[in-house]
Symmetry: D5
Subunit: 96 residues, 10 copies
């Protein structure tokens, strides 16, 4: 089940550089783990902004909230979730 997620990052400019480096590194590892598990199939940077547009693939709303609230950057994020459905004009992706 797919969800569109936009995340805007608001790290204070005066955040301690070590704290910042640490949380950003943990965020990257966390994100890549979820990508490898197939939970986070799409991740793009919004041009010119410290933001991303993502698509998550989860079993339930509860699972999605658990994944998102576990993001190391969560206290600094504005997150907006939009549930997605199959579009009737969608041409099926070819089998891998």
């Amino acid at each position: 089940m797919l969800f569109h997620v936009r995340m805007d990052v608001h790290l204070p400019p005066d955040l301690d550089p070590e704290v910042r480096a640490d949380v950003v590194a943990r965020e990257k590892a966390y994100s890549q783990q979820l990508q490898r598990e197939g939970k986070w199939p799409h991740l793009w940077r919004v041009v010119g902004e410290y933001s991303n547009i993502s698509v998550f693939d989860v079993e339930s709303n509860d699972e999605l909230h658990e994944l998102l609230s576990g993001l190391p950057l969560f206290p600094y994020l504005t997150i907006r979730v939009t549930p997605l459905a199959t579009h009737p004009s969608k041409v099926p992706d070819p089998p891998r």
Copy 2:
């Protein structure tokens, strides 16, 4: 080059049913042609709305505008384009 596109459809409720069926059918054919050409790799329905969230893959801004303004539903659409860049935490997709 990827662009995030949200389209909200505003077909007047009192539109002639034949006109409506015709434009919707032409929209579907047009969309599926672009999907098969690889120009429109993602297309999702927004749950509860007559809207879609899409990703286009084009060579240039001009090409994207040509594709979007050629949509049979274009006069009835509100379209919002967001340019996408590679995210530094993105795990590369496996080769097909």
Copy 3:
């Protein structure tokens, strides 16, 4: 899986009274059928507005979109869906 749904109805004041009565009657029947099936557990009127706030209980995003886009009033509705998760402070409801 629960979703919060707000629906604002925009019926044109000059709509033919018979058309209006028919669509409103079909909406009521459709809604009550879903309530009886347990798909639409909460339905409230927003005071002073021709709007409702609802909670739907469905298996998937696709099912929710199918239910909402099948509403007889759908062409006249502005719908806003918000996915809900379990709240960690929630006291479990007593068994029925």
Copy 4:
């Protein structure tokens, strides 16, 4: 009498962890007390946000304000109240 309430929590990321843990614990106890008394019949987490959507059941506007302004997290909350009325299409809940 039912009221729809949305609460968005804005705890500063640099809040002292003990202060934070204390206020969050008191909030939980306060919330669960009201739930047990039947004043706060619905409480959901908004997926991806540090927010909840709730329904309160109170005797009066004054009682509702007293309950909300007494929330331990009140100084950190943005609260938006919407009065609810009975919907004419509502199928009565079965007796417990």
Copy 5:
């Protein structure tokens, strides 16, 4: 129990003058009946707008919705309801 209500009137400029005069006259009679019953204690015009700001005094949310949705102008109104509580600094009104 008091509620703050703002109503913005959107009568189409090309509405039939007789229809318009009729609905406006019925609105006035309806409003004055509620004022005399003490249900609508305050009614002011917003300067420069075809809008009013009102205070209603009712027993319940359901009663308020019944009163508002019965306004002859209801199909042409945008209504926004805000529940009011007693202010702790309020000096009691002198007895009449």
Copy 6:
């Protein structure tokens, strides 16, 4: 001459408790003095918010600004003023 005034209070959560208690006490005294003088005939709390909706009765715009900018809480307030006029459907209040 009547003006509708909405005030939203933004006291920082970490304000020194004594400073806070002092400014809130002075605000109350100031408000009650204006109420007794008949300048501030209506004062209500907005349910769930640290906000009030008020009606002021003054001789001029200059007098209103003097009263509002003299509020002890003024540096912490967002204030929105709306001028009110007599509504043509208003039933005169009975003489006191």
Copy 7:
């Protein structure tokens, strides 16, 4: 007593040209009469918009509403009134 007024004109593009010419001519005459009486001391066009920014000088809110609601274009206007006060840094205008 001064009030800042912004008016945005929304004349439907398909309005009968004679009706349009008539209402625009009456608006001009009405405006110029008020200007000559000193009630409407400032009137500017907003560049690129069918809008004006004005300052009115009236005795009361009621007078202002009477003047504005009497505008021939009133049914086609969005009007926003802002009360003005004397600024403490204002250098007095030289006597005429």
Copy 8:
């Protein structure tokens, strides 16, 4: 003197095709005349929208309003003007 201008075109989908073709052709001729005179040095299409972003070079606000209100599409446009100044970091353009 430069001004940034955004124009959004709102042509009704059911406009008579001949009327539409005529006004669009006159708009193009008008625009190209101003471009050749150097009054309208930049004109870009916003990707995916029936909108343009332009820069005008005029002697005065009055001249700009005269040019914009003379656009054949003016009744169908939403226009937003932003005055521009020289940026202190601007590298002078090379002489032509």
Copy 9:
């Protein structure tokens, strides 16, 4: 050439009182100098807000930006500039 300018002042409540008094005094002197030179012909306080609505009379956009960015309060201001043109219904001011 006239420009409408709205300025909203955001001085932090905890600003050092001497710093505050100094910047406010310099702002007043700067403003009065521009008023005496005829550059700042109108200056009004917005009732209930720490804001002003002004009209500037300058030779060019560059001059206006120079004047505004030189305001001692500039780092604490939100400024919104709207270019003004002559209104076709304006009755000429009598000669002084």
Copy 10:
């Protein structure tokens, strides 16, 4: 390929003056380097605001994001990117 970019600068008023001078100087050098390379062909100041409106000319979305996120002021900027296409009414610029 052209992109319209608006940047709003939010430097805290209490930023250390040396830090401020340093980042502003580096921003200027960075900007002028990109202008000389032809990547940043237009740069204007928005009158009255600490903001600019720019046009960038790049090969791809990725290049644009790299340029923008490399701005020394990036942590203090709100950036909004709008892709531009060729306008069908554009008169070609004369050859240099």
